[in-house]
Subunit: 253 residues, 4 copies
């Protein structure tokens, strides 16, 4: 079973010196990027009508390659110690995050062949092909560093997020009571006012909704200033997270 | 008084292994979230007219539970060493931050039963139920970490805030003198111009007010660029605060 | 000269235990804040016409107190070792940052009494009273910490600022050539286009100017994303500055 | 060849005590800034028609000086150990980043003298003179510090950027399917929707495109909040980068 082992090595992120494995990684990454560009380009009416044939052909070839990759991964996954058991190992591999993404990447092609789907659902399904992007996470070590930092600080980040939501709810509630009588159209309910609240707290500020009363403006000013803290908190948390992660690495090496 | 002790344990944040206490915490958190969703949903006219009965019933049950929780907390608080004295301990517990929030959460229901209140005040009072959200702070350790960081750095954060306010006042004053003659409607006074100032310094930029003269735009550009510092300062302060807090913890453990 | 020494102590930031000095500090801070509120309120036409008398009286009393404070500071400054010499010490004190701010705070009142000034200049002069705000910097230790951090990192911050300006100039130059032919009104010259550039790089985004061509939007997208770095750089610089400053303090104590 | 050595020293960043070299640096920096101001001012029609002669003359003199500087740099570069070889050293210097920038700064003047260029290309070429700005990077040590930090963390920053792009593509894809049926004009394709996506993720928020359906607003809110992380990640990465770079320096000294 030397071939199986070799395929496993090629499918995994290429180690230094293994030229074929590295080239395969780059091939897959380029294929993913081309696929995503295709999904984007398809929505431009005039491009789609003109190049429909080529696009559909490219889609078919891509799905074929991705399907092959998916099946080979399932076949060879037993070389990883985690998934060593021929049956249970394979099953737990199939339900791992990476493999599920791989499945999601090809499913939008096969589902309409099996089930009869209506047009609207089909369109949403086509969009799912965008998730092929996530297949790329496998190849970057820096991505794993960032993942670790976020995982280590997930509780603090969740609390920052909760503070943001609480602020949003309270601010929108107050603003609704202040502006509703003057602008009943825009600030018609708390959920509607939350649209203003998000735009203000995140400092996006589309400008489609804003208070016009003196009290409303005062509240909006306070919320916009508190919005600064909403940026400062996660920035500070992540900064200290990187610090900790990198000093941990230095100790180990 | 074994029952009293048990109730105290259940009301407090659940320790590892105490399943009942943990489940009670989750029950209260879900009840709070449902209550807040209710306050938000009530402001959607069509939802309120349709489900009025159910909403009012849910409100009544919730207040009942929160009232019971509040009274039991006052009864059992003497198990905390801080509030050990049956009278003075209880009094100082009642005026603690957590207990006041608990009171504020139920008061909007009882006040109209005791006092005759006019409609407008009643509506504002209903909004106070949103403060039930703050009851949740009790259950998170990450929340306390963030609280500590902010408390440790409160002087520096206050100074950043003062710099922001000073910048705002000076910028709005200058802009008022520059733009008032060209746009007397929008930039009609310094307080009005401060609305532009806040939107610019916090980079919200609604776009309802902006300078049109060359000098005004130059000033706005300078203010917008200084606004970057207004974000960088608190982010830097909080980052170093987290660093300090976490290295303190590592030393203790 | 015990009185002179006592006055010096009272004028300086109050040390622990010196109740009179502390109360004097608070008195001056409140006076400054009231003055600034007055300058802001004066620009509201209806307030000024109604309360003109009171406002002018309050202004006169304030200037009297600030003038007295200024003169006493000059008289007693020789107790500071830096300004010990009766003549040269005093002169160098008069030209220190703090004393110049004190002078600027009262000058707008005295200048029109001495020189004949036209109305427009007078109005700008009134605005100078806003600089009284800067008198407050004297009383905060956290303000000095932030000042130190900014001073220590001023070179790095200046480079971040230069990068911002270079980015702004290049982006506006490119955008001018791209959008000028389609929107000759808005993007009429590079200086005009820089107004768009500032709004985009600082993420203010008023929405009064934006590209409509495909190429222009692509450039705007790149600039907006680079604008994130423009925030991240000073935030990172200041964070490491605080770290360094605080660890320096810990070593000394 | 003492003269050659002296010219080399003068062209390089001036060391302490070498007054002539320092003054030459400042002269070149001022010349660069004046040139950039000229490029900007030229696009103001009325300024250009009035001062055309002066502007063209100044441009000619500047190019003469920059050309002389460029040639002298090539002549004397052999004093740097990196470029010691008279031929290969010089060639590798010519293709170094700094020398290429120097060439780009003067090329827009010489090209039209050699080749026949059409008007549109000539206008773009004139803009290239803005790249003279990058000549200034040579003179700042803080600039090199920032360069080092970015180079050390380039992988993490690239990943942050990738996350931003992935988020942008997925968000725009979803938003296109949600809003397309209600606002077919604005959200006409995924590329068009990406213009909204960039404005939201970077919190610029021009306000020319925004969702109006409930589902669209919910998605926009989530994207705007995730946009906060898009700022927090690079800020944290750069903060930890500065920390590392500065502690490295302290160890060496």
């Amino acid at each position: 079973m030397l071939l199986k082992k070799r395929i496993y090595e090629i499918l995994e992120k290429g180690e230094d010196g293994d030229q074929i494995s590295k080239r395969f990684d780059i091939f897959i990454i380029i294929l993913i990027i081309l696929n995503v560009i295709l999904v984007i380009a398809e929505t431009e009416e005039h491009l789609y009508t003109e190049y429909k044939q080529w696009m559909d052909a490219f889609e078919k070839v891509s799905v074929l390659i991705f399907t092959l990759e998916y099946l080979l991964r399932i076949w060879t996954c037993t070389y990883a110690t985690k998934y060593a058991h021929p049956l249970w190992g394979r099953l737990s591999f199939i339900f791992s995050f990476g493999a599920l993404i791989d499945l999601l990447a090809i499913l939008p092609f096969y589902l309409p062949l099996i089930f009869k789907l209506d047009g609207r659902f089909l369109r949403v399904l086509r969009l799912f092909r965008l998730f092929r992007l996530f297949k790329m996470g496998r190849y970057s070590t820096a991505f794993r560093l960032i993942q670790n930092v976020i995982r280590d600080r997930k509780e603090e980040l969740a609390v920052s997020f909760s503070i943001l939501v609480i602020l949003l709810v309270v601010a929108s509630g107050l603003m609704y009571y202040i502006e509703n009588s003057v602008q009943p159209e825009s600030f018609s309910s708390i959920p509607e006012t939350m649209w203003w609240g998000v735009a203000t707290l995140t400092t996006v500020g589309y400008g489609d909704m804003y208070p016009i009363t003196g009290l409303g403006r005062l509240l909006a000013a306070i919320i916009a200033i508190l919005g600064i803290g909403v940026f400062a908190l996660p920035a500070g948390i992540i900064a200290s997270g990187f610090e900790a992660e990198l000093s941990k690495r230095n100790k180990n090496s």
